[in-house]
Symmetry: C2
Subunit: 186 residues, 2 copies
Amino acid sequence: MVDRDDVLTAAQRALNADPAASMTAVAEAAGISRATLHRHVDSREALLVELGTRSLDQWEQRLDDVDVEALAASDDADRIRAALEELVLGYVDDSDVFGFALTDQVILANAALEARTQVLADREAVLFAAAQSVGVLRTDLPARWFGHAIYGLLVSGRDAVRLGDVARRDLGRLVLSSLLTGIATP
Amino acid sequence: MVDRDDVLTAAQRALNADPAASMTAVAEAAGISRATLHRHVDSREALLVELGTRSLDQWEQRLDDVDVEALAASDDADRIRAALEELVLGYVDDSDVFGFALTDQVILANAALEARTQVLADREAVLFAAAQSVGVLRTDLPARWFGHAIYGLLVSGRDAVRLGDVARRDLGRLVLSSLLTGIATP
């Protein structure tokens, strides 16, 4: 008996491999019939929104795990730097699981998910501003840019691994190092 | 009389604003009827492939403009550094025009466009390898990673401007500076 969670996980894997996968292809990947898949989710859009919700749950969990508000209030540069690195490495792991959701148009266009994304981005921006004020992040870049820069490099990383240009094992270091110190020779 | 080029440009603008825009919405944005739009392009997929082709034409033009192969063979660090900066700033301008195409699933899944993307990425990778050998780019990162890193920051930049987090005017500098020297305080 395949439960709902198994179905969603299989769907996620199928969509990571082919973001345009149809419900038929998703059902096949989950080893169930199209009818069974439809008993779990009403439509392809409902499936995507559910997977988008899961990816935001995971993002929220990462922010809770580092206790982002307390951290931002701490004025402790070492702790803030360490937590930023932990967050980015965690996001890289998550983007391996939720890869397709990063750029899926249905997910990005969903108003409820967009509103929740904004709330999480706002929480993160407080941390970035604190990181600037304790000297961890550059003050000549806008605090709201950092979240976008991280997001972009997660998209980079997902694609680089998918196309075989970068080893999965190296990805966390590549993303973190490129993000923090850039790709030019110092 | 609206010509094909006007139609494609209007379609591009409509899809940048809403990547999920239907053919009806695209026709409306172009100020023509759905029937007229269909006289210019057979289907939504054909339209997307045509716009994807235009974005690759533009990428190819940028590589030709800096004469990427001659440059890579030049061993001239200053010229290579200047050309890299010119390329990235050019890509930022192009991503303003072709924004939605960066992450459109139909475009990315098209085999012909994917093959051509690979050819252009290969040309670029030769330049990155040369930039590493003359000391412009870090040698502890794989040459094939740089193109992905640039691509990701173009996605970042497009989204940051679309969401109003960054001014369009600042974007070239933000992307280039984040790419080359990172977001951490040196």
